[in-house]
Amino acid sequence: MPPLAPEIELRTSPHFHSNRSVEMIMRNVVYALLPLCAFSVWNFGLSALALILVSVLSCLVTEHLFCWLSRRKSSLGDWSVTITGILLALTLPPGFPLWMVAVGGFVSVGLGKMAFGGLGFNVFNPALVGRAFLQACFPTAITAYSPALAKNRFTEFIPTTFTPPFLQPPPLADWIERVRVDAFSGATPLMQQKFDKVTADWQPLFFGTVSGSAGETPALLILLCGAYLAARNFMDWRIAFSMLASAFVSGAAFHFLNPAVYPHPWFVLLSGGLMLGAVFMATDMVASPVTPTGVWIYGALMGLITVVIRNLGGLPEGVMYAILLGNAVSPLIDNLTQPRVYGVHPRRRTA
């Protein structure tokens, strides 16, 4: 038998390999996000499109820049930075000034990801680091929401979109007055609930035809996209499920203590960024625990913090902070919930 000699293949076992890869997982998450982007554009118009494009572009450019600076191969091919870009855009108000979006993209990738060594090493969800930065930096601009299904949304941009760099966005009130189709006053359902105790109907919340951040409104669509990812095992459904369940339960507890002040748990579940956060951001693999018990605790913790911030805190929305805090606690959860190794009695913890 003469072959084998010239170029023999020496590998280490296992020689078999499942056909899943990082690139494939990330690409599928991008696929799952595309319907949300499409809905966002339909709901908010051209500005949402510009928002998403600029966000993705700035993330891509930043990642490329950092790879170049550290003399590494460009890591754009693994799609993860595209996810960051899309997620960042989906959490911003549709008319958010584009120059601020670009800042957010830069901070997301630069501070949230590349500073820690890139894919796999980020402690926090990069998109949310960027979002939190923007929220703290530009508190006025990030709470300037525009109405859903505005007139002329496919023919004109929201006036704040093209704010010149480093300048404040113009006030939106007059424009809203002109384009709105309902009694929209510049407040999202969450803000109305928080400050005026007006709870929105469930249908618009469920189908997403309300004001809010670009991609957080369509609860149903988010669930469907999440279901696709969960079914193909590209996402840890347990995190999303436990986060939503815990938010529901704690929301219910608050509601039944004081129904006049605290919203119904269904409202908690459907409003704001909870769905988007639970399905697409809390499940960020890199920043969440790996242990089977850990993921349940992690999700439950984030759900609880979300509701506590929403109901007791000063802000109408707490999902972003809840997930960032969850990310911060996740190594601790990981340490405390190391799986009990087969055959090791009694349960021993490793710190």
């Binding site: 508190p139 006025t140 709470t143 300037a144 510049g186 400050f195 005026d196 000063g314």
Partner: protein
């Protein structure tokens, strides 16, 4: 400090006396320095503090010529700063003719970030708040901190009625209908409402006391 040696050699009595003497000397010098500074700066500090409140009061009561301080002790009013520096204070301001212009009081309330401390002017005759000034706060710059600067917001306090039947309250921006309501700053609902609550609580506590002692205050006794 890790350079501190943990093990100490046994000390003789002479060493001990030397150490005590040294520490005594150092303490003496230090004490001297502190006392000198304290004495030297005492009057300046007092003047500074007085000027600060005086300026604030004068700003809230335009045209004020004379100021009388009252302190509140257990529901009773007494003239002067009093010894208890924790007691609430009322600054009464008079114009050149000696007529009472109004009263200035301090109030505080938890805001978005930390305590908001403010002063406000109250006119007992008109039964309304006539001025408002934030002294200390840590509200979000550019958002909540507008309670100190926003012209429209401060406009609310030019004539904010104290009505025992209606609490002073901040309502949504542009929704003010009654003169006991405050138009909130849009986007800074929490800070605006904190101001409303602060005024409401303070005025409700103080108004009866002022009513009771109005005569005295008008005369400046």
């Amino acid at each position: 400090m890790n350079s501190q040696a943990p093990s100490r050699p046994p000390l003789s009595t002479a060493d001990g006396i030397k150490m005590v003497r040294l520490l005594g000397t150092v303490s003496f010098v230090c004490g001297l320095l502190i006392v000198i500074t304290h004495r030297g700066t005492l009057s300046a500090i007092g003047r500074n503090q007085e000027r600060l409140t005086r300026e604030a009061v004068a700003e809230l009561l335009p045209g004020m010529q004379r100021q009388v301080v009252y302190s509140v002790h257990g529901g009773e009013l007494s003239k002067g700063e009093g010894s208890d520096r924790l007691a609430g204070k009322i600054y009464a301001g008079y114009d050149a003719s000696g007529k009472l212009l109004g009263l200035v009081m301090e109030a505080s309330e938890r805001g978005y970030a930390d305590m908001i401390k403010a002063m406000y002017a109250y006119s007992p005759s008109k039964r309304c708040i006539t001025g408002f000034k934030v002294l200390e706060m840590k509200e979000t710059p550019g958002l909540g901190d507008k309670i100190a600067t926003d012209k429209n917001f401060l406009e609310n306090f030019k004539q904010l009625v104290y009505d025992p039947d209606h609490p002073i309250v901040a309502v949504k921006a542009g929704a003010k209908k009654n003169n006991w309501e405050i138009d909130a700053i849009s986007g800074a609902t929490i800070s605006s409402r904190a101001v409303g609550r602060m005024l409401n609580r303070s005025i409700r506590e103080m108004a009866p006391l002022i009513e009771r002692n109005l005569r005295r205050i008008e005369k400046g006794e």
